[in-house]
Subunit: 664 residues, 2 copies
């Protein structure tokens, strides 16, 4: 189920001295990454861009590539010095970390256990096929038809429908005006060799729609789009519907964001004058921009050939969003979503014509929107439950989707309960001074020298840091806390480093000085950021704990935990448990699916079975209003600490903290 | 089945002297009509407008109203003289026809049998109800819903769907964007009292569409449109879908007519440049004009109240047309309809949004098009077969629809065969010098003085004649032939009357001198008109005869004959058999349904059962290509006489001719 992206590629071995610790790593990775995986700290504040020059190591055996900037003299290079962050490992190598770069006394080497990362659950097409549910709802079928004669002069569309029945066992087919208006010419253009685009109905009882017809055979070109519309960010994928391959992925901030960071402020705006239309136009604009970007960045081959994808070849789009975002996209009045008893306009949606929604897609393209459960448990979470296979598993599963709102689902194939809690946008970079979404230059991993408190910043794309993404924030707070830089309340202790100073929002820690960063200022994290972060994690933890207890279970009953959220490429489980975001569970039970909503929409593009099942699943999901569960507020208040007021809930965290303190 | 429009009204008795023949007639009719019904001739060439003054009669007992113009002096009026054509009968009356007005010697009185008219089959809603198939596909349902609270906060649309299920047992409901976008406000406007417009799906397996929602209770206002689009004329009806009542009917020439009188010339035009778009625009324009006219002329009450109908209240439109007209309306390329092997683009059509077809109707209005059988057996004939109940009867039925093309269907509930033959537009007034469609001023009945050959013209609306409609043409030709004015080849015999003269197209008979007519010229019928007429009737007769024989039957096997065609308010069966349009059958077997296509569309507006059955019926109908049946051409040539070359096929006609000749 958990796929290592390139299992077949031979890993190479990196040995670090003086600790003599070895790790296996994929060729192409950097030495700093290898050190991180080995649990070793190397000072590095420029995010792997080679600018700060602090991460010098000495290669003692083997060699690495590209590990030099003007920060190293030719003499040093000849002596074996390399810059760890910009090195590329291609074969076995032994490297010494000099005292000035590493942590003194090998403390880290001996006392900090290897970190557990919940690896990305990579979408597995074979798994779909094995389960017999790989059946893209839109299929393209080539037909060779006989030309009409005296004894067979059925109508053009009748000929095609007959062919689909005879050659592909497809029945109950209906064609709209677009197809009828061109079918005569198309049939005769390549002597009755045609390709039809067929949209299977979502329910077995309705007709299948013949949405397009082309002259010649084009069945190898069948593309769809999967979209997750978040309050903060919108992500899209361009999918090859024959192979299931993701040809491109792109994300952008939701353009509505300038009208408020949370759903409530968007609703307030939408209630006034043309606000609803404006909100819709903004998000539609964002989607259209992402679509253009997907076309530009799609990696060939595109359905066997290298011919660029024409927008006319997009046959379907599946969209998941929270209930408010769905309402704003469709221009449904969201007014009552924010007013008790929180009544949305609709939770189910029929298939729409994508162009009717303002999307710049061909007239035949169908848009499917994921149904939602309630005003605060939206189609995004339903998409995650569907896409992750939670609804099909026997295992008792806790599913947590971390976004501006966090949603929690507990259950399995037999029952499902869900709840939403307002986490705030911290994990998406919102409300954090230098927060950003998981994009190039975002600090996504971090370590600290326990003596000097110098940082090791690792960024997405190994560029100079420009901000902090969700997964980075998690690791930074956890690491600062573990090393006594932060106390249990999230306030800075008085430790001796110039990196801690008084800023505009109280005390702050400088992750990257301006000169080492990719922006024109220092990159910091301050106490207000940390407070926002703690609020977010507390809401999620309290929500999960409350829901588990409401259904009469305990954390130890969980057989699987699925984490979702567009906050980075992986999640560090030790950190997540150290700061009390997650209850302490066996790390092997945890998978991280990244953007679960996006995954669910992609799965829907590839499996009509999932589309069919979703109605039943939504009916089955029981919604809890946390605000009405008495214990929730107490749980929340108790969770507003690192990791929690009740440390007995986090025994491993306790041990780790003790080890660090003893290490000093 | 055959309804006398006002059965409950007491008929009055009119006795004519000197023949002493009496007829019963409805109050309000004219004396000339009564004479016609009695088989008596009164000279009258002005169509009942009172202009010619030739129809003077003397009232001997009782009286009539309004029977005087300046053509009668006060003295004459005092003596009892009245103008028969403008008289109104309101009570029993005895009238003498003076020699100068009537036929001499009482010939008509004694020898011409009473005419058999196939009376209009008036659409019977009770019949639909009795058969359990009165179920308008679009229904309006009032719902009183509970307002949401903490324990019941389902989505707005969910509340309505739930209400439809609980209160009306309606399930499987889907709503589109239009409804979703307004439902929040509408629900709350009248405190959760709403009216939904529900479109039942045509097939049981698809979802029912919630197409509109209104605040308050509006179930009594539910209107639909029924349209027949002929090559020559377009007819529409505005129907109250609750009562089944026709609120208005209107017709107009199809605006395409300036591009050719038959389907072939329309197709030729549509093949060039923007021709198809133009053809579509033209007929759509005609439909839109008729819709406006229907609104203007609709007779109150409109669904209980007198409030005028708003165009937003039109919920559905059903359209029937021949295959070419259907293609042109939908902008489907008709090119192959005119080329062997005559392949249309489509014979089945999904429901369309009426506004997508260019119709000036609300966005929620659904347009249903009748399916057709082949390029030359169209949706109009299918509509007739459905609307007349032919598809549900056990009786072996011959159905003939007379239009620009004539279609013939034979069969019953178990089997159906059909064929089309090109009759030409004569019966709709096309190709006839002074032909016109059945509208005010059209001569629809006719009699001739056997001595003087003076005419009795009776027009629709009793206005001065402006032309000849189809049913009038039939009677005129038959009467001229019966009285020896025309010979068996349709040429004028040399009879002594100034009304027969040489015109621009050979010999012609003057039906109405300019002064007596409602136009600025004489109204005539000439030999070219008669030739066109004979061609038309020959094609129809030969088609019916051929089809009957192809399925191994004889005329005598027929248990029912249904005549359809928009050529007048009734059809004279004796005339139809005299000139050889119809095979000689027992007149009681014949019903005339007028515009069968229009009737079928109205029935579809009122019965979803009929919509559901139509697919099966169309599948069952076997199409014969007459041009490929060897005997057809011979039948046609043999039918190019009055009534036929083989007089033994028309024994009654033979008898009648003999009687007239003996009478002279």
């Amino acid at each position: 189920m958990i796929i290592q992206p390139s299992q077949e590629i031979q890993e190479v071995s990196v040995t670090f001295l003086p600790s003599n610790r070895s790790v296996k790593i994929l060729p192409g990775e950097s030495l700093i990454k290898a050190a991180r995986n080995a649990g070793l700290h190397i000072n590095a504040s420029c995010g792997g861009s080679g600018v700060c020059g602090k991460c010098r190591v000495i290669v003692e055996k083997g060699d690495v590539e590209g590990a030099k900037t003007e920060k190293l003299t030719d003499e040093e290079f000849a002596e074996g010095y390399r810059q760890a962050c910009i090195s590329t490992i291609s074969s076995d190598v032994t490297v010494r970390i000099p005292e000035e770069s590493g942590a003194k006394g090998g403390v880290l080497e001996t006392d900090v256990p290897t970190r557990h990362q919940a690896r990305m659950h990579v979408f597995d097409l074979d798994e779909l096929k094995k389960a017999g549910i790989f059946d893209p709802p839109v299929e393209k079928l080539c037909l060779e038809l006989n030309s009409p004669d005296q004894s067979d002069n059925k109508a053009d569309i009748g000929r095609v429908v007959h062919g689909l029945s005879e050659q592909y066992d497809r029945h109950r087919i209906e064609a709209g005006l677009d197809v009828l208006r061109k079918i005569r010419r198309v049939l005769r253009e390549k002597d009755y060799l045609v390709t039809v685009t067929l949209r299977q109905s979502v329910n077995d009882r309705s007709k299948n729609q013949l949405i397009n017809i082309q002259a010649g055979c084009w069945s190898h070109r069948n593309f769809g789009l999967a979209f997750d519309i978040g309050t903060t960010t919108v992500y899209g994928q361009l999918v090859d519907l024959n192979s299931g391959r993701v040809l491109a992925e792109a994300g952008k901030y939701n353009a509505q964001i300038s009208y408020g960071e949370d759903v409530i402020s968007r609703i307030v705006y939408a209630e006034k004058g043309d606000g609803l239309q404006e909100m819709s136009d903004l998000v539609v604009g964002t989607i259209n921009e992402i679509i253009l970007k997907l076309f530009k960045t799609a990696a060939p081959p595109y359905g066997v050939t290298e011919d660029p994808i024409d927008w006319q070849e997009i046959n379907s789009i599946t969209i998941a969003a929270n209930t408010t975002m769905t309402h704003l996209l469709l221009q449904l009045e969201p007014d009552n979503i924010r007013r008790a008893p929180y009544v949305p306009v609709s939770t189910f949606f029929p298939p729409f014509r994508a162009s009717d929604l303002g999307l710049e897609l061909p007239h035949h393209t169908v848009a499917l929107l994921y149904p939602s459960i309630s005003s605060y448990v939206g189609g995004d979470i339903v998409a995650g439950v569907m896409g992750s296979g939670m609804y099909r598993t026997e295992q008792l599963t806790l599913y947590i989707d971390i976004g501006t709102n966090a949603e929690i689902v507990i259950g399995n194939q037999d029952w499902l309960v869900c709840a939403a809690c307002s986490a705030g946008p911290a994990f998406e970079g919102g409300g954090i001074t230098h927060g950003m979404r998981a994009a190039t230059g975002a600090i996504e991993d971090f370590s600290i020298n326990p003596q000097t408190y110098e940082p090791m910043n690792m960024t997405i794309g190994n560029k100079a840091p420009v901000g902090i993404c969700g997964s980075g924030l998690l690791i930074i707070v956890s690491t600062l806390f573990e090393h006594g830089v932060l106390n249990q309340s999230g306030k800075f202790n008085k430790v001796d480093t110039p990196r801690i100073r008084t800023g505009r929002s109280g005390y702050e820690y400088v992750l990257s000085w301006q000169g080492d960063s990719g922006v024109d200022h220092d990159i910091v994290i301050n106490e207000v950021d940390i407070e926002n972060f703690i609020r977010a994690k507390a809401a999620i933890y309290a929500g999960a704990k409350t829901l588990i207890e409401e259904v009469g279970l305990q954390v130890s009953d969980l057989e699987q935990v699925i984490l979702a959220g567009a906050f980075g490429s992986y999640i560090d489980l030790d950190c997540a448990m150290t700061i009390g975001l997650l209850p302490e569970v066996d790390p092997t039970k945890v998978v991280y699916v990244g953007n679960g909503s996006l995954m669910g929409t992609r799965m829907s593009e590839l499996s009509n079975h999932i589309r069919k099942d979703v109605v039943e699943v939504v009916r089955k999901m029981t919604n809890f209003e946390l605000s009405e569960v008495k214990t929730f507020h107490d749980q929340y208040v108790a969770s507003m600490f690192l990791p929690h007021t009740d440390m007995s809930l986090f025994p491993n965290c306790q041990k780790r903290l003790a080890a660090v303190i003893n290490g000093k």
